[in-house]
Assembly symmetry: C2
Homo-oligomer: 156 residues x 2
């Protein structure tokens, strides 16, 4: 198993993993990005993300997608948007290896925080993250104004 | 009251507001950024954020700080990192005017989502966001690996 930075030609497999995760998270229809969109966003002059992939026998079986964001408390921080391992390859340390790559990347950047989000019923993931030293912020809630909410936003 | 884009010279007032919010959120020592850091991050060639300020009689009494981030489901989305109104000026619609500016900016960018975070005990804020069409995602939790966790990260 090899962890490396993703290439343009990996984006088809990466999109498959994104869709697999959306099904696991009970939102199978939520994925609106396409392979072309990922290529354009990730490999342009000012890429919007960096992606690491886990490869076994030339097959992409896991990925971690990150970008920097700005914290008004800590300055530039790293955000882990997705950490996905194909169902068939779980429990073999591949997710851990991907997270290790992300933390190592954050260390190289010198950021003071790496953030991500987890579903409260995904207890295996929560336990894994806590073992690695992460804190689950129980009192914070994520807020979304979705596309419909933006278009129908009423300033009242 | 006037809402406008922030200038370099507003960053001192913006930092004061950031510190005020940290005190309200019971983390008075969490703010590590400086005025110079904000200026460098927000007004360089590739700015890390965009900031709107609310001004009354040449005084900055509120701010909203945003940046784009990447969703593997929705593509480029807008994230509202902070929405702050000085304690003395609350309840006068200034927060609403700032949020309106943020949503309008998101609409101009054509994003499919605007996201932010709120403390679960800040019921006034939650009510306000819901009235404006936002959804509070009850099952998602924010995860932080802090500076200490990054530096002492053990790949095991």
């Amino acid at each position: 198993m090899n962890i490396r930075e993703a290439k343009v030609t990996d984006m088809k497999s990466v999109l498959n993993l994104i869709t697999e995760l959306a099904v696991f998270e009970k939102e199978p229809d939520a994925v609106e990005v396409t392979e072309a969109y990922l290529i354009n966003a990730g490999f342009s002059k000012n890429p919007e993300f960096k992606c690491f992939v886990a490869e076994v026998s030339n097959e992409i079986i896991g990925m971690a997608l990150v970008f920097t964001r700005f914290s008004t408390w800590k300055g530039t921080v790293l955000h882990l948007e997705d950490l996905i391992v194909n169902q068939k390859f779980r429990g073999q340390g591949i997710g851990a290896a991907l997270l290790d790559s992300v933390v190592n990347y954050g260390k190289c950047l010198g950021v003071k925080r790496i953030s991500w989000e987890v579903l409260d019923w995904n207890t295996d993931a929560i336990k894994f993250y806590q073992q690695r030293g992460a804190n689950i912020l129980d009192t914070w809630r994520v807020v979304h104004l979705n596309e419909n909410g933006i278009n129908n936003y009423n300033t009242q």
